[in-house]
Symmetry: C2
Subunit: 185 residues, 2 copies
DNA sequence: TATTGTTATACTCTATAACTATA
DNA sequence: TATAGTTATAGAGTATAACAATA
């Protein structure tokens, strides 16, 4: 896991200020003179990621990845990937949902959904039935084993997230949820 | 892009309440009776994603992906992937940074960093120089072209994000930033 | 003609093992 | 012995094209 210690708000290079300097001249402003042909070499002590850290997108991705890690570990107990759990959870709340609808919801392409549904069906968690109105489509349904799995996994996932964000107050969690949704909806 | 219209807070299946029902009996509580051997089929009209949407992790990932999309489009003008830009930006602020440090910062594995640095060096944006203190390591430096690219790309990325989150107030943006960092740090 | 599910396939991203040069 | 950079390679994830069945 990355460190992300520094959070300076400099808008221009604070070049290896704490780093070791070798064969380099440093001007009064603290910025090494990058003269032509100089080929100075530096050692970076503490990485300055100030620009990336100033981006909401970077921070959103970091936060997302940290929770993804929590979810992965939690679902590993059921030998499920996050997206597989998502499929089962959606089928559980939407009996008869089509693979096309799952693709739209989970931002996946149809050819890549086929194998996953096959695998979950082979493991006995869901099954295909004809669509009542559209002969091209196939509706997906949880089996009894699939229902049991979802009913066990969902609360565990919820509680693993609660543990992971416990250092935020209830108010902060609600604020964050609302702001995230405002961002992408 | 997915829809995410519904946000019911039901804790148990609201099964295709708005969907078309076929060959199925619905009890007084509105939940279809899943009798053995019945094999009812349903059509799902509006997908119920209430459980997933109740997770901070799901919402963080959705928000992150939406900004990633903005960044990708912005960087495509420079024929740069997001991670390539991140490398250049970090090298720009950390002359002499090693590939190992980049890997830690960007959560990448060393073998996968090699090719990217090669490509950026071949394109003339950065160069390798010996490390002043460690003969095993290699320091990375922007070329003049690399510096120009970073100095052009960074403000454009910043402004593209600002446009993308303009529907949030300054206060909301600051709050979101602070909460995201509190989440993963 | 358009859409659903599907196959085949290519491309990208990510992960592991092992080697070299140096610490 | 451990670490930085590298190579080769395997595996997972993601993408496009095309086809049969149905709308």
């Amino acid at each position: 896991m990355p460190a992300h210690k520094t959070a300076e708000t400099a808008t221009r290079p604070a070049r290896a200020l704490r780093g070791t300097r070798a064969r380099a001249e440093v001007a009064a402003d603290g910025i090494p003179a990058q003269d032509a042909g100089a080929a100075e070499v530096f050692a970076v002590d503490t990485v300055n990621a100030s620009f990336l850290e100033s981006l909401l997108g970077y921070n959103a991705r970091r936060a997302s990845l940290s929770l993804v890690g929590v979810f992965m570990k939690c679902m590993a107990r059921f030998d499920l990937k996050i997206v597989e759990f998502s499929v089962l959870s959606l089928v559980g709340r939407n009996p008869g949902i089509t693979s096309r609808q799952l693709c739209q919801q989970l931002d996946m392409l149809p050819p890549n959904m086929v194998g996953m549904i096959d695998a979950l069906a082979r493991r006995g968690f869901l099954e295909r039935r004809p669509h009542p109105r559209d002969g091209r489509a196939t509706g997906l349904y949880l089996t009894a084993a699939g229902r049991e799995l979802v009913d066990t996994a969902e609360p565990q996932l919820k509680s693993s997230e609660e543990k992971a964000v416990a250092h935020l107050s209830e108010t902060e969690q609600a604020q964050l949820m609302q702001l995230l949704q405002k961002l992408y909806r």
